[in-house]
């Protein structure tokens, strides 16, 4: 069965520091992978997606993610975090019938 694991429930990072959020997936075929962000009280917004090709994917808000097939990982990174990046981040893999399997999420807190 497909699954998505986000090992870090909560991460605290200083403003201006780099951020990396981990995501591991279990899926039989070539996966379609997504990262979403959810600001407090809001719905989910798509940050980026990976389908094929270049394994380094650029997204909105200065985020990027790297697909590593050998490690079954799709980690999200940002070189320099802003206070507005405080939010919850979800990794997801596309499964049948347009459904997405989501990870449990990582809460990011940004300190001054």
């Amino acid at each position: 069965a497909q699954s998505v694991t986000q090992p870090d429930i909560h991460i605290t990072v200083s403003e201006g520091a780099s951020l990396e959020l981990r995501c591991n997936y279990s899926y039989g075929a070539t996966p379609y992978l997504f990262w979403y962000v959810q600001s407090p009280g809001q719905g989910l917004q798509l940050l980026l997606k990976y389908f094929s090709g270049d394994t380094l994917v650029q997204g909105i808000k200065g985020f990027e993610a790297e697909f590593k097939r050998s490690q079954s990982s799709f980690n999200l990174r940002k070189p320099s975090v802003h206070w507005s990046d405080a939010a919850e981040y979800f990794c997801a893999v596309g499964v049948g019938w347009g459904k997405l399997q989501f990870g449990a999420g990582t809460q990011v807190v940004v300190t001054p």
Partner: protein, 118 residues
Amino acid sequence: DVKVTQSSRYLVKRTGEKVFLECVQDMDHENMFWYRQDPGLGLRLIYFSYDVKMKEKGDIPEGYSVSREKKERFSLILESASTNQTSMYLCASSFGSRGGGASNQPQHFGDGTRLSIL
């Protein structure tokens, strides 16, 4: 831009009531989804629909039903609300995938309805 609109941001109901949550999308998407979101559990799929009048159970359909009479509208119904259905409910939509295989189409989400059952 895709717009997914959920009818209420906050809703308070009493146990035993029949509750309707409405969702409308404006991008002619074939697929629509209802999730509930609870702390530490991420998003869990309740029901989804890949066409008008079609519906499929997700991971946690018990206590819920859905209706899709028009392509743009997908309703979630709590037949007899209970306190354990207090949660954030999120609606999403996406383009369809051919043949039911895994899709590369992202889902677009509404802002959510925070439902409290007293």
